[in-house]
Amino acid sequence: MAAGRRKGLINGVLGMKRKTNTIALIRLSDIIIIIVLAAVSFSFLFLRTSGNEGLVAAVLVGKEEVYSFDLEKIEEPVVLPLESEGIKLSIRVEKGKIRFESSECPDKICVNTGWLVSKGDTAVCLPARAAIVVSGRKKLDAITG
């Protein structure tokens, strides 16, 4: 009885009207198979992108990546010294964010950029040829300005 009601409900959801004494065109087991397959296929989709879900920051000097962090996994704030092109800089990393904390460069554009918190965020110190690039969560494709 309870199973019959459930079947009726499912067919109602599918918009199919039928008499209760005929054989179900789509069985409960079919629905389960569809749901399972759909879940499996979407999990593939999820697994493919889940590697990018976290926030990853790369610190580049020239073209070379000197540090890389999974920002979500930082528990205690970290301050890192860096020296490039004769300029001393420091980078501060906290949970979910990263920034140039200090720089001996003349214009301080890098420090003034502030915290980087989402994918695509970048901070650059041109005189030192140092950059922080964040990848992970998608927000923008580019920034003009």
Binding site: T22, I23, A24, L25, I26, R27, D30, I31, I33, I34, L37, A38, V40, S41, F42, F44, L45, R48, T49, L60, G62, K63, P106, D107, I109, N112, T113, G114, W115, L116, V117, S118, G120, D121, T122, A123, V124, L126, P127, R129, A131, V133, S135, K139, L140, D141, A142, I143, T144, G145
Partner: protein, 349 residues
């Protein structure tokens, strides 16, 4: 009989259900493939950071774009003594140089003429005097500036049969306000030649967009919030197959006695342009043109700037000191202003 028909019908539906599910599996897997990581890379060119995102591209292609841009930079940058621009300046008043990049000079002079000199690639002596963005940045005296103004006039640039020359001794060229846009153009042409149909390149704030994202959605470009940091934006532009460039007074400047002197100099006065604007973003198919026009519009101010853009069929976003954001007609439906930042959107009719 009736029962076997029902059985057949049941079989068909079950088969259909399984096929649907299988289809879904394949579809989602192929989606994953399509959305698959575009090639992305960073490098330094034109004195700034270049970020390339090429769908269906690879490192080799990105490197090709970078190396072609470096070749161009070695020619049109006045930072290198060996560049053709440095040679043209050194030969000012006596000779010229044949250039592969003649079209860039031509475009620069065209914008100079049409903007009445608000954009001027002969600004070099004054730019060097201020030195904004270099360790030698300083606020020069009025006498120093006025002493150099007679050397600033785009009328000195002579373009003839692919040869560029300066007719006045002591005059010099600076293509800094057009080079990044030209570099973005060059990158897009490298991608196009390789059969790529979806890519975005940012050379500093000059953005080149090829096609839309895979699947057809437009690329989303943030317009920098002049009051925020380098990654803060006040609104977004959703665009395909286009270039975008911004000139703003917020980034590079030199400070003296509490006064900020920004880097966009008015060729007429030799001082930072003061037209009531803090930022101008230009949207057009030609990236070099966007770059030049954003500088010209910043110097000209809102009204004359809009007219200049009209003449080129370009569009723009003008942000003034009162936090008003003026958007020209052609991109009003592409632009979205962020709430809560205190800016007021004004649509230009």
């Amino acid at each position: 009989m009736a029962a076997s028909l029902k059985k057949a019908g049941m079989f068909i539906y079950r088969a259909a259900a399984l096929l649907t599910a299988a289809g879904l599996l394949l579809f989602s897997a192929s989606c994953g493939e399509k959305g698959a990581e575009p090639y992305g890379g960073q490098d330094y060119v034109m004195g700034t950071l270049m970020t390339q995102t090429i769908y269906g591209g690879n490192e080799e292609l990105a490197k090709k774009a970078t190396s072609e841009i470096r070749v161009m930079e070695a020619a049109i940058s006045n930072k290198f003594n060996t560049s053709e621009v440095s040679k043209i300046s050194a030969l000012a008043g006596s000779g010229g140089v044949e250039s592969k990049y003649f079209d860039i000079y031509k475009l620069a002079v065209d914008v100079s003429v049409k903007s009445g000199g608000a954009f001027d690639i002969t600004i070099a002596p004054v730019v060097d005097l201020w030195g904004i963005g270099t360790p030698d940045a300083r606020v020069p005296s009025r006498e120093e500036i006025e002493g150099l103004l007679p050397f600033v006039d785009y009328g000195f640039v002579k373009l003839e049969d692919g040869t560029v020359s300066l007719t006045k001794e002591g005059a010099a060229l600076d293509l800094g306000s057009i080079g990044k846009g030209a570099a973005a153009d060059l990158a897009l042409s490298v991608y196009r030649d390789a059969g790529i149909s979806s890519a975005i390149v940012a050379v500093g704030g000059s953005i080149g967009v090829l096609g839309g994202k895979p699947g057809g959605a437009p690329f989303i470009i943030g317009v920098r919030d002049p009051k925020g940091g380098g990654n803060d934006y006040l609104g977004t532009l959703a665009l395909k197959d286009i270039s975008v460039s911004t000139s703003g007074s917020y980034e590079r400047f030199v400070e003296k006695e509490g006064v900020r002197y920004h880097h966009i100099l008015d060729p007429k006065t030799g001082y930072p342009a003061d037209s009531g604007l803090v930022s101008v973003t230009v949207v057009h198919e030609n990236g070099a043109l966007c770059d030049a026009l954003s500088t010209a519009c910043f110097v000209l101010g809102l009204e004359k700037g809009v007219k200049l853009l009209d003449g080129y069929g370009a569009n723009g976003i003008f942000i003034d000191k009162e936090d008003k954001v003026f958007v020209t007609k052609g991109i009003q439906s592409n632009f979205e202003l962020k709430d809560g930042l205190g800016y007021e959107l004004v649509k230009i009719e």
